[in-house]
Structure formats: structure tokens, C-alpha cells
């Protein structure tokens, strides 16, 4: 398999005064060149920790307990930090959550991107870098002359576009976008997601989208991974996962969202709250909130197992009914 990125049985915990936080536990997935993966889950489920692990940007109090991450066949954590510096931004870059607020207010937006390019590609002259910025702005839909403006002269959507341009600056083969549109209004969100998808297709780039919003993930992902309490609960091709969610958590999540499609329907509630990751429940981490839980679920942790060619779930007692979302296909808007 020609995987660009492969995460194998990856477990990463944070050390805190109160104890170990089991933030990422046995997560495995692979991503091919040109594919997009959507990681969906609620706050604290470990989706950003997975991204930070791939980017090798973990804080000092983190510890990798097992597993490995390979990028283009090379083990990310076997590289020296100098070697990885060459990889970061040039092969893999990231759009951080609320990154639009991270632009430095006292420099023009263009000069900040020029700096990123020159820093990572010392052979590039500033002149060339400037020309690249103009191309990038064109790609993300910002008029080139806006490069000389300061962040406060940009709207929220434009700042987000500039941050995307920055992530694209060194032609990476993979971009991780952590909640790239969460702070934006729906019309702007729609535009930016469409633009990102178009760029991805045009330059055959891979993408990992991270979001709490299952609708956003549905729209941009080839593959969908659902995380809960540090675990990957379900992963598969978007069509399979959305038409036939097998994991009760995925099923619950999909039916907890009101939709503007189809007829107005009652919403499903998932009782309780996510567990404290310092002492997750034994067995399946979702079992205290699951209406399908059995004694096995409360005692034995379910491994990630295949239920279709590209569809895997971690559940002893999967859902077999098709989702109501699937029935609505073709419903008039």
C-alpha cells in the first residue's frame, strides 16, 4: 500500500500533577497521496493530540507509550530534530485552530509568509518568495496587493485564507487543518471549504481535516475517522460511515444533529458525559453511555476490527440499521 502517512497503534499520554491523561490510545490509520481524512469527535477526544503527534509538536509533558508514525515511509520519531525540520512545512504543514488570530499584528501578512518560505528554503531569494506569495494569494482568492496589508485590515475569512496560503507556501504533500472554519460564519465557511477542496484536488495533496462538526467532515472527507475518549471508534470511507454507521457512538452523533434537510425529526440524545481520561472506564470507553452495552463491553476493550473492505470499528455490539441520514439521500432541499 502506497500510504503517504501511516499511524500504527499509536498511544500517547500526558503527565499531569493528578496523574496520566490517556489522550491517544491505540490509534491506527493510513492515508494515501491525494486522499482526505476527516477526524471527528468532541472536545477532549484526542483529535488535536493526534495532529500534534504527527507534526511532532507535543508538549514536554507528553509521552509516547507505543506505536509509530511514518511519513513517506520514514519514521517521524526516528528522525533527528534537524531532519524533521526539513520535513515540517515542506512535506507536512498544519493550519492551527484559530490560527487566523495568530498572525503577527505588526508585520504585513505577505512578509510573514515570505519569512516562512525563506526560513525553510534558504536557497530561495526574497524576490522569488514574494512572487510565490502572489501566486499563493491568487490560489486562495486574495488580491495580490493585499500582501502589503496588515492583519487588522483583513476580515476573518481573509485571515483564514492567508493562513491557508501560509500552510501551502512550501508545497507540502500533506496539510493538517484543525477546525479551519470553526470561528467563521456559514457562508464564509462554505467558500473556504470549497476552495480548500479545489486546491487539494488540483495539486493532488493529502489533507487531514479535524472538526467537531460531523456535517463539515461529511462534505470534505474521503475517509472519516470518529474519535471518542482517546480512541478511534470507527473509520471508513465517508459513504460507508455515513450511510451505515456501525458504532453506536457514530450513530448517536449523527442523529444528535438537527438537520435542515428532510422532514423535521426528533433528536437522539446520548446520555451522560465523556469520561475523565485519567481513569477511563474499563472495557469499551463508551460503555457507560451506550444503550447497547453488555457485560463484555464493560470488561473487554474492543479491538478495531474490519466490518467492510475499508471500514473498521471498535465495538462488540455494532449497530446494523442504516442511518436515517442514508434514507434522506436525494431529499429535496
Amino acid at each position: 500500500m502506497d500510504a503517504l502517512l501511516s499511524v500504527e497503534d499509536f498511544t500517547m499520554h500526558y503527565r499531569t500533577k493528578a496523574g496520566w491523561v490517556q489522550a491517544v490510545d491505540g490509534v491506527s490509520f493510513a492515508l494515501k497521496r491525494g486522499q482526505s481524512l476527516g477526524l471527528v469527535g468532541e472536545s477532549g477526544c484526542g483529535k488535536t493530540s493526534v495532529a500534534m503527534s504527527i507534526m511532532r509538536l507535543l508538549p514536554y509533558n507528553s509521552e509516547i507509550k507505543q506505536g509509530r508514525i511514518t511519513l513517506g515511509g520514514r519514521d517521524v520519531y526516528a528522525m533527528t530534530s534537524e531532519e524533521f525540520r526539513q520535513v515540517r512545512w515542506k512535506e507536512i504543514s498544519m493550519i492551527f485552530q484559530a490560527a487566523m488570530n495568530a498572525l503577527n499584528p505588526v508585520y504585513t501578512v505577505g512578509s510573514q509568509i515570505v519569512e516562512a518560505i525563506v526560513e525553510h528554503e534558504p536557497e530561495t531569494t526574497e524576490e522569488e518568495a514574494r512572487r510565490r506569495v502572489a501566486e499563493l494569494f491568487d490560489l486562495v482568492g486574495i488580491p495580490a496587493e493585499r500582501a502589503d496589508h496588515y492583519p487588522h485590515e483583513y476580515s476573518g475569512g481573509m485571515k483564514q485564507r492567508a493562513v491557508i496560503a501560509m500552510a501551502l507556501a512550501c508545497n507540502p504533500s500533506l496539510i493538517i487543518a484543525d477546525e479551519p472554519t470553526t470561528a467563521l460564519d456559514v457562508i464564509v465557511q462554505d467558500k473556504i471549504l470549497r476552495e480548500m477542496e479545489e486546491i487539494r484536488r488540483r495539486i493532488n495533496m493529502s489533507m487531514i481535516y479535524i472538526s467537531h462538526d460531523i456535517s463539515v467532515i461529511a462534505e470534505v472527507s474521503d475517509i472519516v475517522g470518529v474519535m471518542y475518549a482517546g480512541k478511534l471508534m470507527e473509520i471508513g470511507e465517508a459513504d460507508d460511515v455515513f450511510k451505515r454507521p456501525r458504532h453506536p457512538y457514530t450513530y448517536g452523533l449523527m442523529h444528535a444533529y438537527p438537520s435542515i434537510l428532510g422532514s423535521k425529526r426528533d433528536l437522539a440524545t446520548i446520555p451522560g458525559e465523556p469520561p475523565n481520561l485519567m481513569s477511563p472506564p474499563p472495557g469499551c470507553r463508551f460503555n457507560p453511555r451506550c444503550d447497547r452495552a453488555t457485560d463484555e463491553c464493560r470488561a473487554v476493550e474492543p479491538p478495531l476490527t474490519k466490518v467492510g473492505p475499508e471500514h473498521r470499528i471498535a465495538c462488540h455490539n455494532p449497530v446494523w440499521a442504516p442511518s436515517r441520514g442514508g434514507e434522506q439521500v436525494g431529499a429535496a432541499r
Binding site: 472536545s43 462554505d190 470549497r194 461529511a218 462534505e219 455515513f242 444528535a256 435542515i260
Partner: protein, 335 residues
């Protein structure tokens, strides 16, 4: 303990909120050398009613004036002009002495339960504060009432929550505390400003359902402010869509979702992502981005972004909200 029972007021008219020509202008760009300031028309001449027991959704993008409207209704912000009648009280002329009784009937739930609860107060102190300031009941009665409210919002058993602090609770539990605080005085009208937007999905549904149950049980009317049309559709009887300080469309929820008339509402609806990869959404038909309504020109507010704008939209003033179809109002020259 003397609590007003809003259910008894049903025979006294079926309109609880009546807003007429409400405006709120903020001065902007005032500086040391600039005496003449511009005016930001945050809310610009809007009128609407809320029927008793009704949930009216106020929907729009950030900066459209929906929160300012909500705050004026509970008089946390003073209007520039216009009249607001809430539960037979003229909100703009309430004296400070009458503010207490007014706040017993009108309450607000805020967006962020991490900011709206005082971190140094216990849950009991927070929920009983409205009873304290209004001198309702003695300590024992207050304790009983707080326990009753906590149970009602799903924080059970109440004894395990009463003497904890907000930081010990999750976001969903905090928002339930905020709801209990708003409803402890048995208000007849509540402004809910995005009360579920900070919550995770699996928690959010529970809070939404709770708000609806409480509406049934206590006969509360809500103004429900949200940016999420799907949430508004689920919770509200009617939806009002705001754009740059103006209400551009107002009708029954299903009507707005299924048969949007105003070009802005249409764009907004087609931009909502759909949790189904098999559905290809049309590209929202709208140009440019939102600007700020600072000294707006006398033309349709949506003109710059409107895909179907005509000469008349630029040459005449912003169109009046008028009935286009039965009980379906829109503000557009072309309808």
C-alpha cells in the same frame, strides 16, 4: 413564597413581546482629532412580536445585531429609539425601583457558561441569587426552591451539586446551572443567546430538549438567538432572519427552511453543511463578504452581495418588511 405564576396570565392577551421601530446606533471612529463620529447601525428599525408561549428564533451571522436586540429586550442595553413592551411593561421607561419585579418576569441565558457563572460562588449561591435580590422566601424556602430547580434541569441529586463550584462542573452541567438560575424566579419570557453553541453535540441535544420541556412545563416564551439555522428549525416556532441590523425575513420555521423568499435567507440556507456525503449542495448564491453597517447608504442593505439586485434596489431605500405570502414577511423590492 410569592412567585408569579406565568401560566395564570394567559387570559391577559396573547402577545408577550411587542417591539416597534427598535434602533440601536453605536458611535464609532470617535477620536481626539475627530469630533464628528460615524454611527454603526447595529439594530436599525426592527419590529416584531412574540406570542405568549412561542419560541421566536433570531438567526443571522456574527455582527448582524441579534445579540444587541436580545440585550435590549431585557434592558441590558438601552435602545437609541423605538418601543419595547415585554409582558405589558414598557421596557424603556422602567424605573430602577421597578427593575426588580421586571427581572423576575424576564430573564436571559448567556452563550458561554464558562464566563456567565461567578467562579467564587457555589451553585446554591448562583441559583439562589435571583431569589435573594428579589427578597423571595426565607433561607429554607430558597434551599427547597434551588433543589427543585436543580432537579428539574437534570442535576440530580441536587445535594451533590448545591455546594460545588462552577469549575467542578462540565460545560453542559454549567449551562444547566445557568438555566436553573434564569428560571428560578419563574419568568414568563426568556432571551436565550446561543445557549448551546459552546457545548459538544452529545451534550447539546440534552440541553435543547431541556429548554423545550421547560417551555411546556412553565409556559415560557423564548427569544432564541442562534447562528445555526438547523438548531433554529428544531427549536423555534417562527424564525426571523437578520442581516446588518435589519430583519429581512420572518415566517414559521418550516416555511423559512423549505420556502425561503429573501435572497439572503436562500444563500444562508444553502451554505449550511449537510451530514450526508451523497448530497451535493449548490454553491450559495451570494457575492462578497459582510461589511459593517456604518452610516449605511439609503439603499437595500443586501445590495452589494445580492445575486439578483436591480436598479431599484440601489435607488430606493431599504425595503420595508411586508407580507409576501400568508404570514410570511420579507424585505425585498423584487418579491
Amino acid at each position: 413564597m410569592a412567585l408569579p405564576d406565568s401560566r395564570l396570565n394567559n387570559d391577559l392577551g396573547d402577545t408577550i413581546v411587542s417591539v416597534k421601530n427598535l434602533k440601536k446606533y453605536y458611535p464609532v471612529g470617535r477620536g481626539f482629532f475627530r469630533r464628528q463620529h460615524a454611527l454603526l447601525h447595529a439594530v436599525d428599525d426592527i419590529s416584531f412580536d412574540v406570542a405568549r408561549g412561542e419560541v421566536l428564533g433570531l438567526v443571522g451571522e456574527s455582527g448582524c445585531g441579534k445579540t444587541t436586540t436580545g440585550r435590549m429586550l431585557v434592558r441590558l442595553t438601552n435602545p437609541t429609539s423605538g418601543s419595547i413592551i415585554v409582558d405589558r411593561t414598557d421596557v424603556s421607561s422602567i424605573s430602577s425601583a421597578d427593575m426588580g419585579p421586571f427581572r423576575q418576569r424576564v430573564q436571559m441565558i448567556f452563550q458561554d457558561p464558562y464566563e456567565s457563572l461567578d467562579p467564587r460562588m457555589t451553585i446554591f449561591d448562583i441559583v439562589s441569587e435571583p431569589l435573594n435580590v428579589n427578597h423571595i422566601g426565607n433561607l429554607e424556602q430558597r434551599e427547597e426552591r434551588v433543589a427543585e430547580m436543580l432537579t428539574r434541569v437534570g442535576l440530580t441529586p441536587p445535594a451533590t451539586f448545591m455546594f460545588r463550584f462552577p469549575h467542578e462542573l462540565s460545560g453542559g452541567q454549567r449551562q444547566r446551572v445557568a438555566i436553573a438560575r434564569a428560571l428560578v424566579v419563574n419568568p414568563s419570557f426568556v432571551v436565550a443567546d446561543e445557549p448551546t453553541s459552546m457545548l459538544d453535540v452529545s451534550i447539546r441535544t440534552g440541553v435543547m430538549k431541556l429548554l423545550m420541556e421547560l417551555r411546556e412545563d412553565f409556559g415560557i416564551s423564548y427569544l432564541y438567538i442562534t447562528h445555526d439555522l438547523a438548531v433554529a428549525r428544531y427549536l423555534c416556532d417562527r424564525i426571523a432572519v437578520m442581516y446588518l441590523g435589519k430583519i429581512v425575513e420572518i415566517a414559521g420555521s418550516e416555511e423559512v427552511i423549505k420556502n425561503p423568499l429573501h435572497p439572503y435567507t436562500r444563500a444562508l440556507i444553502s451554505a449550511v453543511p449537510v451530514p450526508d456525503p451523497a448530497v451535493a449542495r449548490p454553491v450559495p448564491n451570494v457575492r462578497g463578504g459582510v461589511s459593517k453597517p456604518i452610516n449605511p447608504a439609503p439603499m437595500c442593505r443586501f445590495y452589494e452581495r445580492c445575486p439578483v439586485a436591480q436598479k431599484v434596489c440601489r435607488e430606493s431605500d431599504h425595503p420595508e418588511l411586508r407580507e409576501v405570502e400568508g404570514n410570511h414577511l420579507a424585505a425585498c423590492h423584487l418579491l
